[in-house]
Amino acid sequence: MRYMPDDPDLGAVTELTLVIPAANDHIQFARLMASAVGTRAGLDYDTIEDLRIAVSELCTSVTEGVTSAGDLTLTYRGDATGVHIVGRAPLAPGSAAPVPPSELTRQILDAVAGGHTFELGPAEVRFTLVMRATASPAR
């Protein structure tokens, strides 16, 4: 974990990176890290719950939708505005065509997240997640 230089308007900024095997039974660590960063960023319990749901959805989309050639790398950034997460996993060459997130996953993410993207590139899958410190829609 490292602390970014403080911004007087934002307070302390935390950025850290987690590398886990791209497998379902390791998503727990991604959620826990998200919870910890969210707690530090001052998110309330409901928003952290939403954050956990969103992280689960996005990570599962990687672990079940693509054949990864390596680990899933998650970068978490927390500040007074909320939590920003970027996930990346390299695609295995010649593997089956990646499956994009389902419609239900997209709806769930729309409901709980402040913002999200999921990109299937030629060599890697990448997602972003923004969870703002303000109230999220699913209450």
Binding site: D6, Q28, L32, S35, T39, I53, S56, L104, I108, R139
Partner: protein, 252 residues
């Protein structure tokens, strides 16, 4: 051959026009797969799947009641936050029943007494799984709650604050927390109780941690209430002498 189902928009229009519960129920049934799929997202969190599905159905029902099919948004997009909100509320109400307020820190407060209780019952430090089972919660939640508690470590409260003018983390966290004092007391009491004979320890635990009456303890242990009373007094005297050498005999 079964009759073809009318389009969703027709059913919603019919329900809005007539308020016919049968139409409403047809709509809810139509989205049963959607309800089950959302409920499954919360599986393995210490709640039976059928309960979760029921809660999800309540969410769908509420969404059907409120949905305006004239809006340019399809029903499942509209209903997802409602159903998720219903499930989360269910977890929250179930987990934090009665008077405990919401928040990660609050679960931490609930974890501590359960750890104490299990410590006494098992005679060893409980596992996360045991704590989670006791709290009817998930391992994730317990770990998260413990992490939230770790944020209170006094040696870390000023870390990361390089701005002399702005409030430090200690200031931001400086709300009254009676439970921290209690945690301190718990540590002291645990250490003191470890010095008591097993039977006195059990009786103290039943009386002051489980809130049992002397009569109830007497029934459970199988000795007379008079004897329980004597053992209690003896144990309290012993504890009092240990913790307050100048005020021997003062009850805790």
């Amino acid at each position: 051959m079964s009759e073809a189902e009318p389009p969703e928009s027709e059913l919603f229009a019919a329900y809005r026009a007539t308020g016919d519960k049968k139409v409403r129920n047809r709509l809810v049934e139509r989205y049963s797969g959607f309800a089950v799929a959302l409920a499954r997202r919360f599986d393995h969190r210490g709640v039976p799947m059928e309960d979760l599905v029921q809660v999800a159905f309540i969410g769908v029902l509420n969404a059907v009641e409120r949905y305006d099919s004239d809006r340019e948004v399809n029903f499942t997009t509209y209903a997802t936050p409602t159903v998720l909100g219903e499930i989360k509320r269910y977890f929250r109400d179930k987990t934090w029943a009665v008077k405990v307020p919401r928040g990660v820190k609050d679960l931490h407060v609930r974890v501590a007494p359960v750890v104490d209780e299990l410590h006494h019952l098992l005679g060893r430090s409980p596992t996360i799984t045991e704590i989670a089972d006791r709290l009817d919660s998930s391992e994730d939640d317990v770990l998260e709650a413990m992490e939230a508690g770790a944020a209170y470590r006094p040696d870390s409260t000023d870390a990361g604050n390089q701005h002399k003018d702005g409030p430090g983390l200690a200031d931001r966290l400086s709300f009254p927390d009676k439970d921290l004092d209690l945690a301190d007391t718990r540590v002291t009491v645990r250490a003191l109780m470890a010095q008591l004979p097993q039977r006195e320890r059990t009786i103290i635990y039943m009386r002051y941690f489980k809130d049992l009456t002397q009569a109830e303890i007497s029934e459970r242990i199988g000795v007379s209430q008079v004897h329980i009373s004597r053992l209690l007094r003896q144990a309290l005297d012993r504890l009092g002498r240990t913790t307050m050498p100048n005020q021997a005999g003062r009850p805790l």
